[in-house]
């Protein structure tokens, strides 16, 4: 929707309140129809798409997990052959880590952070649209390859030389490597948007000590993404170069180094765990307040723990390489850091327990998921301290003990809070409440099913069952436990199915939600459910950490923004004092064209290095179109 540029502009203070929302809606609303849907830059629409897509990938990854459990339920089962099994466990890991866990956390932030900091759109909204299309393309690449029997079969970490040119025939490893490029490009884009949004678009008065903990968590996570993801992009790109061009980054015979891959991968891979966990911790710290009916205990400790965890996460990566033959003294440094990181995690857990202890808890479904998270994450954390010890890790390396440990950490530490998050913020996403009865049933099925599925894997690991085997002989002592695990997985799957049924049913016919159904204290609840296209008719002014609790009746607002163009307030970094009024870009189809051009270039470059040369031309054209002035009021500085 292009409008002529004006020099004066209509301000919100010039319009009667009754007409203000109409004027803002005209400026901010995404046009209906197919073209409007493709061109939108509304963070709420893109956030919802991201969340939906991530949950589709979760469901697909769950189907793969179910197939593996059917295969392993009996010794010498013949449902899957070794080659397909290799593809399935690789797809399961890569899908869950790169297409579900990281994107879904960023997706929730794309939707919520602008609302929580009291602004009208995310920073760089066109980049946000681009990031979604790129993410979708990466996911489709991986799953299309799998459907064509070209799915990667080298494990989610694709160790060389297995994934190198010598052993990784065909294009399977290239598909994995290029999927990394897609998803990391997308993740980096969102991270940059979030950092700028949090630093420069906070509502006036939202000083550093008034930022909601979830927003702090996303700030730390975004820095982790920015610092960790380039390592894996370098690794995957150099792997493709080894495979396609004949470079020798990972070929020791020509001066390369196989261990370089492991260092690069895990320098990204361990912070990745915290890229998934820290947002979840932020969600818990934010959600726990309305259900404990008191502010979270130890706000300062919670923020410190997030920051310290983020930094320490970069000093743990070698604990994935304890059997790689590095000097034990060097290993011990990583053991020390791995154990030290338990302290900030412990601080957070004690803060949550103290919040509940001193509050008057209301045991709604989101709080059940929080409690489920605390229980499972503590178990996963304790086994994490165990595998941080070199002698113990050497014994259980590559066994089901490790499988049990990281599922406790990732499902316990991220999926439980995420499911609580969906229940909690569903009214803000859809305008409807989720069913409490179905929510409770799904929680108990998931909690019982999860523990019955994954706890016995510790024992299987201690009994010596290795990871990534497609079958085992009947005389090995693993049969009974494997059958029990597979049967327990049915309960877990039933819980997830019930969750999906609840989501679909509630989105269609759930109870209509009020603006603030939980009596929550953060700014996203100061607007309607779901929020209008412009988020807030007037930008709120924040006077405390819990603005909706401390100023229940009348939240102060800032005025002076133009209504005839997309405009938002830019504030100072530390003290959030108003600094400027800035334009927020209008809808544009160019991010989609740029994403299509980038997708063609990246997929083509799996087959020919010249794709980077010729493929960059349409990318450049799309970027020129993207940034070309359109003569709209938003072009004015």
């Amino acid at each position: 929707m292009n409008r002529p540029a004006t020099t004066t502009g209509m301000r919100d203070i010039d319009i009667a309140r009754t007409k203000l929302t109409g004027a803002l809606a005209e400026t901010w609303t995404t046009p209906s129809g197919f073209w409007g849907a493709l061109a939108t830059v509304d963070h709420k629409i893109i956030g919802r798409r991201y969340i939906f897509t991530a949950f589709v990938f979760l469901a697909l990854g769950g189907v793969l997990a179910a197939l593996m459990r059917i295969q392993l339920a009996q010794p010498e089962a013949r449902l899957l052959g070794p080659d397909r099994y290799n593809q399935i466990f690789t797809m399961h890991g890569a899908n869950m880590m790169f297409l579900f866990a990281v994107p879904v956390m960023e997706a929730v932030a794309v939707y919520l952070v602008p609302l929580m900091v009291g602004t009208r759109n995310i920073a760089f909204p066109r980049l946000n649209a681009f990031s979604y299309w790129i993410y979708l393309a990466g996911g489709m690449l991986l799953w299309t390859a799998f459907a064509l029997d070209m799915g990667p079969d080298v494990g989610w970490f694709a160790y060389v030389p297995l994934s190198g040119p010598q052993y990784g025939a065909g294009k399977r490893a290239d598909i994995w490597a290029q999927m990394i490029t897609f998803t990391e490009l997308s993740a980096l884009a969102v991270a940059v948007e979030l950092v700028v949004t949090i630093f420069k678009q906070r509502a006036p008065g939202m000083t550093l000590d008034r930022i909601p903990v979830f927003v702090w968590a996303m700030l730390v996570t975004s820095f982790l993404v920015i610092m960790a993801m380039p390592a894996i992009m370098i690794a995957s790109t150099s792997l493709i170069l080894d495979r396609l061009v004949g470079t020798h980054f990972y070929n020791p015979a020509e001066g390369g180094d196989v261990l370089l891959w492991q260092h690069l991968f895990w320098f990204f891979g361990h912070p990745e765990v915290y890229i998934i966990f820290l947002p979840a911790a932020g969600m818990v710290s934010t959600m726990i307040e309305p259900f404990a009916r008191r502010p979270a205990f130890g706000y300062l400790g919670l923020v410190m723990a997030l920051i310290a965890t983020g930094i320490l996460s970069f000093g743990l990566w070698v604990h994935h390489m304890f059997v790689a033959g590095l000097p034990r003294l060097g290993d011990s440094f990583f053991t020390a850091s791995s154990m030290a990181i338990a302290i900030p995690a412990g601080i957070q857990i004690f803060c949550w327990i103290a919040t509940l202890w001193d509050g008057r808890p209301v045991f709604k479904t989101p709080l059940l998921f929080i409690i489920g998270f605390i229980v499972t994450f503590v178990i996963g954390g304790l086994t994490g301290v165990m595998v941080a010890s070199v002698p113990f890790d050497t014994q259980v390396h590559d066994t089901y003990f490790v499988v049990a440990h990281f599922h406790y950490v990732l499902i316990g530490g991220a999926v439980f809070p995420l499911l609580g998050t969906i229940h909690y913020w569903f009214p803000k996403l859809t305008g409807r409440m989720m069913s409490e009865t179905l929510g409770r049933w799904s929680f108990w099925l998931i909690f019982i099913g999860f523990n019955a599925t994954f706890f016995p894997m510790h024992i299987l690991g201690l009994e010596g069952m290795p990871r990534r085997i497609y079958t085992y002989q009947p005389d090995l002592p693993w049969h009974g436990l494997n059958l029990f695990i597979s049967l327990s997985a049915v309960i877990l799957i039933a819980g997830f199915l019930l969750f999906f049924v609840n989501v679909i049913r509630s989105a269609r016919s759930g109870e209509v939600a009020p603006d603030n159904p939980w009596d929550a204290p953060t700014l996203e609840w100061a607007t309607t459910s779901p929020p209008p296209s412009y988020n807030f008719a007037m930008i709120p002014v924040v006077g405390s950490l819990h603005p909706l609790w401390s100023e229940r009746d009348t939240l102060p607002v800032a005025d002076g923004l133009r209504t005839d163009r997309r405009e938002l307030i830019v504030t100072t970094l530390a003290t959030a004092e108003p600094q400027a009024r800035d334009a927020s870009p209008q809808n544009s189809i160019w991010p989609l064209w740029a994403a299509i051009a980038t997708t063609i270039m990246l997929i083509w470059s799996i087959f020919s290095p010249w794709a980077v040369v010729w493929g960059s031309i349409p990318v450049a054209v799309a970027l020129i179109g993207w940034f070309w002035p359109k003569g709209t009021p938003e072009d004015e500085s």
């Binding site: 000083t207 550093l208 320490l312 003294l329 060097g330 440094f333 053991t335 850091s337 302290i343 900030p344």
Partner: protein, 114 residues
């Protein structure tokens, strides 16, 4: 931003930027020094860890004292100084703990173990 204001900001947050830098440098030394430790039979890794811990605890104190100075003054944004100083001091203390653990580990091993 004036030089004195910049110095105040840096000193309030010193525990948050300096302590991680010291710890990160020591992590890298932990990859290099074991070979020298093994050859010389000196505990160089332990020494660097303990020296690093001394620096980080000093940065913790510096953050704390700087923030108290701002809070005690009459300037604006005292709550930010309080927040920044406390977060930085606590973070630096955590990195001190990590460095002390690394130092103790380096005392136990000779650097020759593979």
């Amino acid at each position: 931003m004036s030089a004195s204001k910049l110095f105040t900001h840096l000193s309030i947050w010193v525990g948050l930027w300096f302590a991680p830098l010291v710890w990160a440098a020591n992590m890298q030394l932990g990859q290099v020094l074991p070979y020298a430790d093994c050859r010389s039979q000196l505990h160089l890794s332990a020494a660097t860890s303990f020296i690093g811990a001394a620096f980080t605890i000093a940065s913790s104190f510096a953050s704390w004292l700087s923030s108290r100075r701002v809070i005690g003054g009459s300037g604006e944004h005292r709550s930010n100084a309080d927040f920044g100083g406390t977060v930085s001091a606590l973070s630096a203390t955590l990195f001190t703990f990590a460095l002390l653990m690394q130092g103790v580990a380096a005392m136990v091993l000779t650097g020759c173990e593979k």
